[in-house]
């Protein structure tokens, strides 16, 4: 039911991204292609249909995937804010969602909140994840050279990004 606006919005976001974020000597990796668009869809397909309970979850998932594919590539906060504004406009225009940026900016999806979990789900509050991650770290340290890590917001975000790609 929301497939059409989501697809239209993704395409427009992609078009804007390739027009606005051009490769320059300092940002030579600002090259986007259609593969990136397909990565958004690939990411969305990691979530199982029964787990998508309503429109909010779906839109959240979509925005999460576009952020991972496009926004993580940007190198400074100016560009990231610009991208967020673009996404925000798209949300309002196509999906009629009046969300504030802070509502969805740090939302994460992943499949590691439950031990041995296979389902790709929206993760709870970042701070609630820390005990879970400490557990993983302990498991890791048991078989490998120990790492002494402190989990903070950025770190959890990066971790979740890597885990997302490895799961694909």
């Amino acid at each position: 039911m929301f497939a059409e606006p989501i697809v239209k919005c993704s395409v427009e976001l992609y078009q804007k991204t390739i027009n606005d974020f051009l490769p320059t000597p300092a940002k030579c990796h600002y090259t986007f292609n259609l593969r990136d668009l397909s990565k958004v869809v690939q990411g969305m397909l990691m979530m199982k249909l029964p787990d998508i309970s309503d429109k909010d979850v779906l839109v959240n998932l979509w925005i999460h995937e576009t952020f991972r594919v496009f926004r993580d590539r940007l190198i400074n906060s100016d560009d990231r804010d610009k991208y967020s504004t673009m996404a925000q406009e798209g949300l309002e225009r196509y999906l009629d969602m009046g969300w504030e940026l802070k509502d969805y900016k740090n939302v994460l999806f992943g499949s590691y909140e439950v031990v041995g979990g296979e389902q790709y789900l929206k993760l709870s509050e970042v701070n609630a994840l820390i005990p879970r991650l400490d557990q993983y770290l302990e498991l890791y340290n048991a078989d490998n050279a120990p790492m002494n890590l402190v989990f903070f917001d950025d770190c959890i975000q990066h971790l979740s990004r890597v885990a997302r790609v490895l799961g694909q």
């Binding site: 000597p25 090259t31 940007l74 903070f152 971790l159």
Partner: protein, 178 residues
């Protein structure tokens, strides 16, 4: 592909994420005599493990491990097509096909030598993830991106920002609390 300055925790993140996904991490060890030959040897082992033993693997490679630019050429090929041309000599290719033939038949991928080898490549692509940890400092990163476009096109990129103050505080806090 993880881009950030040294010490921002790229490799730790990749290792831990791999452990969370129950995947094995492999990275090369540089010695004085490490050249293309040794690198190819390691890649061959890696591909064999991911296809023949059917183990999901993460290959962690950082820019300090680039002894020769040809390593990147190989990674570029691996990302693009899932194989490196002429990596396996003919006799080893035959050995691989023998080992893979049963699995290829189970998956109904045909039994001619080419089909089996394609199946091997396909398995590698399924099971092997490549994590590149690069530093954006200097011209090298730019030149490499230009010369080897696959490292950009075929990767999902994650750009690391400097650590926020909150993070530095929490690390200090942990250190002194202990």
């Amino acid at each position: 592909m993880l881009v950030g300055v040294g010490g921002s925790g790229r490799r730790s993140m990749a290792r831990l994420a791999a452990a969370m996904k129950e995947m094995k991490t492999f990275s090369i060890e540089i010695t004085k005599s490490y050249k293309e030959k040794e690198f190819h040897e390691d890649i061959r082992g890696l591909l064999r493990r991911s296809a023949i033993d059917d183990e999901p693997q993460v290959f962690l490679f950082s820019d300090t491990q680039i002894v020769k630019e040809s390593f990147l050429e190989d990674i570029n090929n691996l990302l693009n097509s899932g194989e490196i041309p002429n990596l396996f000599p003919a006799d080893e290719k035959i050995a691989i096909c023998d080992e893979m033939s049963k699995k290829a038949q189970e998956a109904e991928q045909g039994d001619s030598r080419d089909q089996i080898y394609n199946f091997f490549v396909q398995k590698c692509r399924e099971n092997l993830h490549i994590c590149l940890a690069f530093s954006p400092v200097g011209d090298q990163f730019r030149n490499r991106c230009r010369q080897f476009p696959s490292i950009i096109n075929c990767c999902t990129m994650d750009w690391y920002n400097p650590w926020p103050a909150e993070a530095l505080y929490s690390v200090a806090h942990r250190q002194y609390a202990a």
